[in-house]
């Protein structure tokens, strides 16, 4: 990852664009909430927009788009483990064996 002054100077424009995008997506999030959509659709839409915002912060502000692969793999692994931990109790009703009882 290059830290040269010239490279960073160019990146500043990207950061500012991302900042404006984040503000717009925040407005979108709030506006959508006022539409009072059914709960299921509201949750899916809200989390979808939040994921895009989070993705922008992670990719650009946290430099993940130019970071070494191993860090990205670490984070993907972490998220998969989190999802697995979340899925485990959820699936217990359907698959009682998962209760390990």
């Amino acid at each position: 990852m290059s830290h040269s002054a010239a490279q960073v100077q160019k990146d500043v424009k990207k950061y500012l664009v991302v900042f404006v995008a984040l503000l717009c997506l925040t407005a979108v999030t709030v506006v959508i909430s006022y539409l009072h959509l059914p709960v299921r659709e509201a949750i899916i839409l809200a989390l979808f927009v939040a994921t895009i915002k989070g993705g922008l912060v992670a990719a650009f502000f946290m430099h993940l788009s130019t970071e070494v692969r191993s860090i990205v793999y670490l984070l993907v692994f972490t998220l998969l483990i989190s999802l697995a931990l979340l899925a485990w109790p959820t699936m217990c009703a359907e698959f009682p064996i998962l209760t390990l009882y």
Partner: protein, 196 residues
């Protein structure tokens, strides 16, 4: 004694020490907040009734706080960029703004909590209030931690800019990564608690 790889990347990982360290730490933080988000999901799934966030919580004020935190993320990136471009004054200006915005966030949260207490709403009042205070409370503690670190780097820590500028640049990058994570948590916390 010189610690190796504080500035230049290790050939095997491609990272300098602090960057690997902070990402490992942030991975553990994902597990921490992930666990609480999971708790929220199970509590809500198991509840007979669950209030809509906006019926209890103040959406406009939390929207303002979201903008505050997103702004603090751009300012911390610009602080790091200032250092990368050898502009120490830009670093100081934007790090100061980052810290200021962090305190604004805390102030708004303090007001919010106060309002809840004033209306007799405490963590023990309901499951919703319990998970609300737990998640936002833990987030607030993370903000405070980040502010302490950022204040140190704005203050006494900035001496390293004279003695070892590249290492200081890396320290600011790593502090920024932590701060962005705190912002990222709020980006999910805000819609989940306030808008759903």
């Amino acid at each position: 004694m010189d610690i190796p790889y504080t500035v230049h990347a290790r050939p095997d990982t491609g990272l300098y020490n602090a960057k690997l360290g902070i990402w490992l730490f942030l991975a553990s933080e994902i597990m921490l907040f992930g666990g609480l988000f999971s708790s929220y999901i199970f509590l809500r799934m198991g509840a007979d009734v669950w209030p809509h966030g906006s019926s209890i919580l103040n959406v406009p004020i939390a929207t303002f706080n979201t903008v505050v935190l997103i702004s603090s993320s751009i300012t911390v990136v610009l602080a790091w960029a200032g250092l990368a471009m050898k502009n120490f004054n830009q670093f100081r200006k934007f790090m100061f703004l980052t810290i200021l915005l962090g305190f604004v966030f805390l102030g708004v949260k303090a007001y919010e909590y106060n309002q809840k207490f004033h209306h007799g709403l405490y963590p023990s009042t309901s499951v919703f209030m319990g998970i609300y205070f737990t998640m936002t409370g833990l987030h607030v503690l993370h903000i405070i931690g980040g502010l302490v670190v950022n204040l140190y780097f704005l203050g006494p820590g900035s001496k390293m800019w004279k003695s070892d500028p590249d290492r200081f640049l890396n320290r600011i990058e790593v502090a920024g990564l932590y701060w962005h994570f705190v912002d990222l948590v709020w980006i999910f916390l805000f819609p989940v608690l306030y808008l759903l």
